[in-house]
Symmetry: C2
Amino acid sequence: MPRTYDYLREGAAIYARSFATIRAEASLERFTPDEERVAVRMIHACGMTSLADVLQFSPGAAVAGRAALKAGRPILCDSQMVAHGITRARLPADNRVLCTLNDPSVPALAQRIGNTRSAAAVELWLPHLAGALVAIGNAPTALFRLLELLEAGAPRPALVLGMPVGFVGAAESKEALIAATEQASIVVPGRLGGSAMAAAAINALASERE
Amino acid sequence: MPRTYDYLREGAAIYARSFATIRAEASLERFTPDEERVAVRMIHACGMTSLADVLQFSPGAAVAGRAALKAGRPILCDSQMVAHGITRARLPADNRVLCTLNDPSVPALAQRIGNTRSAAAVELWLPHLAGALVAIGNAPTALFRLLELLEAGAPRPALVLGMPVGFVGAAESKEALIAATEQASIVVPGRLGGSAMAAAAINALASERE
């Protein structure tokens, strides 16, 4: 008889036990109920309860994100990983999930504006930006370029998730987002971040179901 | 004149500075050159230099992974996020990247075997397992189910990346993988892990180019 392992094999039970563990261990007291659901789901995606100590919500950001999703606004993602981490069945209005990174016009546009492909892809968000949800989980240059477009008068998204990851520009771009206080935002400061966190935040805002 | 920000806008320069920062800060001395490239790229994907202190390679695992990719073996992924994080242009033999999670047979199969959809999707890997690369960045149940299939005599992959994330089964499934010493593996122990780390490890094994 081949060996089997003793482990929980039922998806709903795994989620329930995971979320209970997170709520028992993480410091979630400072969050509103909407923020708390976002924090818990992001911690679930990264395995780090310490995320609760650094995650930053601008006032009303979680409420604004939920409302925008319910209103059917699109979700603009800076990477295919973010787009593929969003659980379509949780979205309240069959919201469009858009990642323009692989658009055929992007390489030439990047050359022309003298920036990365990730930043060039953000230019293609302009027709969709008004009231949208922006989920940046990969590229600091995408976040910097978005902030530049907003300063130049681009339509304002309902919410920006500032969660690019890494060692060059990630911390700085997120500081710039926090400094842009007129923009609702949820931010993982410093080097930490990533597509899984950004997708988890969208998934949490999309539905109260856990 | 709208404000612009001062940031590095050239992809290659961003990579170079990121990798130099990682090599200056992380403790990489214990790794072989092949392992070091994997560690650096995984750190780049998660923003945490401390990953270098916990990442575990079985002897020869990095070499086995590189060889399997060069030999054109498929890459079996437990989530769409892992599959979409793999940079196709880096793959040395136009290797197939397979994620069976959304196969229409999976829900019924999960019911039948009394396990999660992630575990059921692993059953569909059987025709592709021999000599393949397995990249598990999401579901502990996928890793447990793979180990059970291997104990029951399934064809052995060349390399298993054990990087599921989370609070229920993640640490335990990775301990079980490390204990299965006949299987070459790269493991992020404990709760940490994720699709970005698993994809980064594949991307590092795929090409020496940084």
